[in-house]
């Protein structure tokens, strides 16, 4: 990786035209003005040497490596993966060649060299139970590692739902006491890129934005880039017209399912899930869960695992009839008790009745 990125790309058979087109697409995806695409391309294309390449440290905590899988596999050998040529990925356990002490040294070296400037990417949640003993690297708990790494970071990217919201480790009953990055770090800008895993282009897009402008993109109140998480799956879903017409697949193998009707009744969480799957799709635009016939799980939303079941329609209550029988019995009992009280009262009123005479009409 010598010389400007554009040269590197050229060596790998990516033309300048293709690269600019990619940047323009990325910019439009992120709802940036058209000029931003050019700026992005120029900024990245010019990224020449180690001195200009910002340092990125990627720390894995309680995670499944799915986020890394996502960012690597689906983009290799496509153009997005190459964006990493524009950065100096100084620590990434899965991707780096180094191991053991060497790896640790690389980490500390990078943190020291780039103090206050490096971008910290975190995937996985941070366990707080048992003083953090559930997950340690190089003898340090994730909590310690995060605090240490966060101190010198310019910004933090919480990659995936675990880092952003606690994810599956945090699901009931949360045995490890898992929390998200933002639960711990309060004094640094944090970009949440939730998803289980997040969409690759969303990850690279945010990085590209950061590289180009040196700033954090506009975020919503859950810390997610608005460009990708501004609308619900439901609102951008190609099956939405069926919802509006009231055409629903009732089972996964019925006529409705074959005709591609709305999966709302089969538990699709599209209406409450903010993500870009419906527009960007997966695997280089090949397809996405709803297109392949399965409802959205809502994986990029907080606590999606505890949302009441993937196959339970959103409008369907958790289990209201459990309490109902008891309540009805109590109500009936109360009614019967009052009946007795009322009967007694009326009887005593009748007993107290003295035959009304003319004298009773006057005070």
């Amino acid at each position: 990786m010598q010389g400007p990125l554009i040269d590197t790309l050229a060596r790998r058979g990516v033309t300048r035209r293709t690269f600019f087109k990619y940047c323009a697409t990325l910019a439009s995806l992120m709802a940036l003005p058209p000029s931003a695409g050019r700026a992005m391309a120029e900024a990245m294309a010019a990224a020449p040497a180690a001195s200009r390449r910002p340092s990125v440290i990627w720390l894995p905590f309680q995670e499944c490596t799915g986020c890394t899988e996502s960012i690597t596999r689906s983009h290799s050998p496509s153009i997005e993966g190459l964006i990493f040529d524009a950065i100096s990925l100084d620590y990434q356990e899965t991707l780096m060649a180094a191991a053991g002490h060497q790896a640790e040294e690389a980490l500390h070296h990078a943190m020291k060299e780039n103090e206050g400037k490096y971008l910290l990417i975190v995937d996985g949640s941070i366990p707080l139970g048992l003083d953090g003993a559930y997950s340690c690297i190089a003898g340090k708990t994730n909590l310690e590692a995060l605090k240490e790494a966060a101190k010198g970071a310019a910004a933090i990217v919480a990659m995936g739902s675990c880092a952003a919201f606690g994810g599956i480790p945090k699901a009931n009953p949360n045995p490890t006491g898992a929390v998200s990055v933002s639960d711990i770090i309060k004094d640094k800008p944090i970009i949440n890129i939730p998803g289980c895993p997040p969409i690759p282009v969303v990850m690279t897009g945010v990085l590209a934005h950061y590289l180009t402008f040196g700033t954090v993109p506009e975020l919503d109140k859950l810390g997610r880039p608005k460009a990708f998480y501004g609308e619900t799956i439901h609102d951008r879903c190609y099956r939405r017209p069926f919802y509006d017409q009231g055409k629903f697949a009732k089972t996964f193998d019925d006529e409705g399912a074959r005709k591609g009707w709305c999966l709302f009744e089969l538990g699709c969480k599209g209406p409450v899930t903010y993500n870009a799957c419906a527009t960007v799709k997966w695997n280089a635009g090949t397809s996405w869960p709803v297109e392949s016939g399965h409802g959205c799980l809502g994986c990029s939303e907080p606590d999606f695992w505890d949302g009441g079941g993937f196959y339970r329609a959103l409008s369907r209550p958790a289990d209201p009839l459990k309490m109902a029988a008891t309540a009805a019995a109590v109500g009936a009992a109360a009614g019967v008790a009052i009946t007795f009280a009322n009967r007694a009262k009326k009887s005593s009123a009748k007993a107290a009745h003295e035959t009304v005479t003319l004298a009773d009409l006057e005070k």
Partner: protein, 219 residues
Amino acid sequence: MNEMQFLTWVRGPGLDIAIGIFLLGVLWRLIEIYSLGRKVDVAPGRHRDGASGLHTVFRRSVPPPGMIKRSPVTYIGGYVFHIGLAIIVFLFEPHIILIRDLTGLSWPGLPSQVIDLVSVITLGAMLVVLADRIKNPVKRYLSTFADWFTWTLTFLPVLTGWMAVQHLLLPYTTMLALHILSVELLLIVLPFTKLFHAFTVFGSRWYLGKINGHRGVPV
């Protein structure tokens, strides 16, 4: 509590509690009311076709002659918002799914654009009857806190439901949760306010029809 947790709560424990209190209240109140009983009328009755409790239960759904002219806002506004509520509650697909999951019963719904339109009309009709309650001397005279309160509790579910679908003001998740919460509040207060007329209206009409029908008057 984030919005998803909020939604999960209102769909789970919240709905459990609301339906529980609703059922408890309905049974308690129905027994409390109807167990008071009534004396049998020993005067020999007069038979006349159409004079019975059941006839009156249905007949009272139709305005008596000349009354629409006397009180057009009450009748038209009342019809529109009652029918509107019924359409929204029973013919909106997500509601039907909810009912199906609770009871196993289901029926075809209406396209959501139609429900949208009905919601707007219903909201409008409810605003009109509210304005009438403020403006009309009799209604204003009769109104107590409970009247304003129950109006609000009936209005909110329609408003929040419509706003959720339209993505107004708040994110869908939050609005949907607020919508469900407002319905839960409505369920909780229903047995204990004038909203209970939804149940007693049948008993009242039946008694009226029965008592007057005994004298041979179809009312």
